[in-house]
């Protein structure tokens, strides 16, 4: 689609993000929530909705939801009523889902996003608590459908943004931020592939400059941030094309096909269920006391944006470094540990963002599983700062060797590798003088202005010192001696 055509329209996006909470038991039963268990093993009479069973609220779920609410500066509802959302589906044992319709636990609030155009607060509508459904498994060439109820009753929070996002880049940034937050808060693992973080996008377009939203389409089935972006891009173009042809956008639910990047209609909203929400009489309304709320507030960890700001202000790091380092709590924690052993924060940042992160990416390990103690990295930095090893030697020889000998110190490894640089002038000077004596013609050429010959002298000095001469010191001495001739 041409850029000029796109410029005629404003894209409007609202996201609904479901985050599966990391509570050990389900929201209304003590059943386990372990992922990957054998089908239909994490069950009880309550999960299966046997006659006469009643829900028992897991308070941890409420605490997790409040943590997210505090992180997003939401207003926390003190009186929480749980509602039933009624519909029939085989993976929904009670025939209704327990959710919060009229009194979401968190109201309002915002999530700060960063895009190519800068930082911006994206408004939230609400965050509410609800339960997950089971999984229907349709087998190929089988007429029967199988149901696995392990996931039924697992706690979710649904984070609903206002239709406040204006580009797929903003949507992606919003999701990235939400994922970062739930991970920092340790309330959800944020894994989109396994479905513990799921996102539906409400997408509409309106003529540029208008304030009247167009008909919205709800897009489902996107299992990565990139796919959310692709689906939105596709919808943007599809809806514009419809309007340009004089057709209308139908309010419907569409599913995203990751293979071809297109969306396909599932059912129109008009045909949708009337969910008949009403307050669940089996769960007494939940009151959140001042005491409870303040204890949750007191247990809040430092959040990524605050942490990044701290790195900029306290460690004097560039904004870019601060953002990269705080991308995950794990890496940030590792960086802070390194910084406890060195005051060269920028070097610590470079080492963590560079060799450490590359190693983690290659091995798929998390920062807390990184084999080297943070002080090893600090030792390397100190060796470089003292001129004992060069950065190149440090990153290409000392660091890999340390990884295979994590019990040794950086200095021990450097010694063992015999790479400690000679920075003592007294021991380099004789080599310099020897080289100058051996190549009088070259010295003459240098004196006649052929300064480029310096590298040849350096090469000879390094060769004779077996690479251990500190290049800085060697250059200084060579220059000084040559000028003296």
């Amino acid at each position: 689609m041409s850029k000029s055509l796109r410029n005629k329209y404003t894209l409007v996006i609202g996201l609904e993000v479901h985050a599966q909470l990391l509570t050990e038991s389900k929201i209304y039963t003590p059943d386990s929530t372990a992922y990957g268990s054998q089908p239909n093993t994490n069950l009880s009479v309550i999960t299966l909705a046997h006659p006469g069973t009643l829900p028992l609220l897991n308070k941890k779920v409420v605490e997790f939801a409040i943590r997210m609410g505090i992180a997003c500066r939401c207003a926390i509802s003190r009186l929480n009523i749980f509602d039933r959302k009624n519909y029939f589906y085989p993976d929904l044992p009670k025939g209704y889902q327990l959710t919060q319709d009229r009194t979401p636990i968190c109201k309002g609030g915002f999530v700060t996003i960063t895009t190519s155009t800068g930082e911006r607060d994206v408004k939230l509508n609400r965050i509410h608590i609800e339960e997950d459904a089971g999984k229907s498994i349709h087998l190929e060439n089988e007429s029967d459908t199988l149901v696995d109820f392990n996931r039924a009753g697992v706690a979710l929070i649904e984070i609903v943004s206002e239709p406040d996002l204006r580009s797929s880049e903003e949507a992606a940034s919003f999701l990235t931020e939400v994922r970062k937050l739930v991970r920092y808060l340790e309330i959800c693992d944020g894994n989109m592939e396994e479905g513990s973080l799921r996102c539906d996008a409400n997408v509409s377009v309106m003529p540029a400059g208008s304030s009247l939203y167009g008909k919205k389409v709800e897009v489902k089935n996107m299992n990565s941030i990139r796919n959310v972006q692709r689906a939105i891009e596709h919808e943007f173009d599809r809806q514009i094309a419809l309007l340009e042809k004089g057709e209308v956008v139908i309010s419907e639910t569409r599913t995203f096909n990751a293979d071809n990047g297109k969306t396909y209609g599932m059912r129109t909203k008009e045909e949708l269920n009337d969910y008949r929400y009403f307050p669940d009489p089996d769960l007494s309304p939940l009151e959140i006391s001042d005491k409870w709320l303040s204890s949750i507030q007191a247990s809040m960890p430092i959040l990524p944006r605050a942490l990044a700001l701290k790195y900029e202000q306290e460690y004097g790091l560039p904004k870019y470094d601060a953002l990269v380092l705080t991308d995950t709590k794990d890496v940030a924690t590792y960086f802070e540990s390194v910084s406890k052993h060195t005051s060269n924060y920028k070097a610590a940042s470079n080492w963590v963002m560079g060799p450490v992160k590359s190693y983690l990416n290659e091995t798929g390990l998390n920062a807390h599983e990184f084999p080297l103690l943070p002080q090893r990295i600090a030792e390397i930095i100190t060796l470089i700062d003292q001129g004992k090893i060069s950065y190149t030697v440090a990153s290409q020889r000392v660091f890999p060797d340390l990884l295979s000998n994590p019990a040794k110190t950086a200095l021990e490894v450097a010694h063992h590798l015999n790479v400690i640089q000679e920075s003592n002038q007294d021991s380099i000077l004789p080599i310099v003088e020897q080289v100058m004596k051996e190549f009088p013609l070259k010295v003459e050429e240098y004196k006649n202005g052929k300064k480029g010959i310096m590298s040849m002298f350096m090469g000879e000095v390094m060769k004779r010192s077996k690479g251990k001469a500190d290049p800085k010191v060697a250059t200084q001495l060579l220059t000084k001696k040559l000028e003296e001739v």
């Binding site: 046997h50 009624n86 009670k94 025939g95 009403f278 089996d282």
Partner: protein
């Protein structure tokens, strides 16, 4: 066997070895067998009950027996009893066996009660005559052409005919008190949330109460103190401590009470004249005994029944969604796809009255009518509660009829659901408000059919309610 007035007398004889639990169980089993035509029991646990009796006889001889040792109890078919069938009088739970014990049932068992069987009832406790059971109607033991009331008809008849000492039923809109009145026994509906609902098949969750049928106030008090109280499996149950009701009953301290009765009692049109006469006579007796008796006004009477039927059916429509043929119970064999599985299973599995109430409830909760019905009924419920509580601040009790008529003929109202709903006119107020209420026998009509008198007390005033009921019964 000797006719015992109270369970305490039985316990006395058990202690002294003049009777055994096995003899007691055998006695009730004999009646169940000879009166099988009443259709009060859906399952009789003959062998298990006799075995349990033998076990408890031994415990008694070892002085290790629980508080209810030797109490023979029947359970309405809405209470979960592990490894025993449970169907709520419905075809939709065909083949279903409970896999856990209801809290109330567990507490009975923990105190060595003996469970003798599962009692017939209106399907999903929806009905006032016990004619809505998938297993056929229950008959009144006093007149087999008449209904026992409902929905806990089987439970009422079981106590009436001495098939068990105590029945546990459920009272959502009068389902314990109304059949108790029709059968001439005592029926208590405690305060909402006094007894855990865990294991009670839900009809309308915000109204449902487990209730107790018995022949003596003392028996009812004893059972209540065992089964009531906090329960980790029901978040709505009250955490208030449970008084020793049966002990408080024996306190001889003379009290005078202030009793209010409905002013409209003398003019109420639908009320059978003998019921009115008997209640007025009882009020005179109360007055003569030194209690204050005053007429009260309750102008909201006309709103109670509609409020109840809107809210109860709304909750029921959702509560009964779990009966879908997917995980347990009946599944239609005629289904061809998912939608037809739901439709056929539920159309074939549920009876007409249940379907009627599910449809009603679905309607009042639907988006276009929600505010007009559900929201409004919630508001009215609050007003009815406030007004009733106001009266109960001034009066210890409200006395009123429990039914407009005595037990009616079978088939008399089956073609007119609205007429049937009117049978609940006096009983639903206590459920709408949540306060405790009891139905106690109060004479008979000209045909010898029992008349019930209803006494309503304030929240958690069961102790006072039981004391007063005992007093009234002893006035005869």
């Amino acid at each position: 066997m000797k006719a015992y007035a109270t369970f305490r007398e039985i316990q006395h004889d058990l202690q002294h070895g003049t009777i055994t639990c096995r003899e007691l169980v055998r006695h009730h089993l004999d009646i169940i067998n000879t009166k099988a035509h009443l259709n009060a029991f859906l399952s009789v646990y003959e062998d298990a009950a006799l075995k349990q009796a033998a076990r408890i006889d031994q415990k008694i001889s070892q002085q290790k027996a629980g508080k209810l040792a030797g109490l023979v109890v029947g359970l309405k078919d809405v209470l979960s009893y592990e490894d025993h069938p449970l169907q709520a009088g419905s075809k939709i739970l065909n083949g279903y066996t409970s896999v856990y014990n209801a809290t109330a049932v567990q507490r009975l068992l923990d105190e060595d009660a003996i469970i003798i069987g599962r009692q017939n009832c209106d399907e999903f406790a929806m009905g006032s005559s016990n004619e809505n059971s998938a297993f056929g109607p229950v008959r009144n033991d006093l007149d087999n052409t008449r209904v026992p009331g409902g929905s806990s008809g089987g439970s009422a008849v079981a106590v009436q005919a001495d098939m068990c000492r105590i029945s546990l039923g459920s009272d959502t809109g009068g389902s314990v008190r109304q059949p108790a009145a029709f059968c001439g026994v005592i029926g208590l509906k405690p305060t909402y949330s006094r007894i855990s609902r865990y294991g009670l098949i839900a009809y309308a969750s915000s109204f449902d109460c487990i209730g107790i049928f018995g022949k003596s106030i003392d028996d009812v008090a004893l059972v209540l103190e065992v089964i009531a109280g906090p329960d980790e499996f029901d978040s709505t149950v009250s955490k208030k401590p449970v008084p020793a009701y049966s002990k408080e009953l024996t306190q001889t301290e003379r009290k005078t009470f202030k009793v209010g009765y409905l002013k409209e009692l003398s003019t109420s049109e639908g009320l059978q004249p003998e019921i009115q006469k008997n209640i007025v006579a009882k009020l005179d007796q109360i007055k003569a005994a030194g209690h204050a008796v005053e007429p009260i006004e309750f102008p909201l009477m006309d709103f109670i029944l509609p409020t109840y039927y809107i809210l109860a059916t709304a909750e029921a429509s959702s509560n009964l969604s779990r009966f879908d043929g997917v995980r347990y119970g009946y599944r239609s064999k005629n289904a061809t796809d998912l939608l037809s599985m739901y439709k056929k299973t539920r159309s074939e599995g549920f009876g007409k009255e249940v379907q009627r109430r599910i449809l009603l409830g679905t309607f009042v909760l639907s988006a276009s009518y929600y505010d007009a019905y559900y929201t409004k009924a919630q508001k009215v419920r609050r007003i009815i509660r406030d007004k009733t509580k106001e009266i109960l601040k001034q009066y210890d009790f409200i006395v009123m009829p429990i039914t407009p008529t005595t037990a009616f003929k079978m088939g008399e109202h089956t073609n007119n659901p609205l007429e049937m709903y009117l049978a609940d006119l006096f009983s639903v107020q206590a459920n709408v408000v949540g306060v405790p209420a009891i139905s106690i026998p109060c004479g008979t009509d000209q045909q010898g059919l029992p008349i019930g008198l209803q006494v309503i007390a304030d929240d958690f005033e069961e102790s006072k309610l039981l004391q007063f009921s005992d007093l009234l019964l002893n006035m005869n």
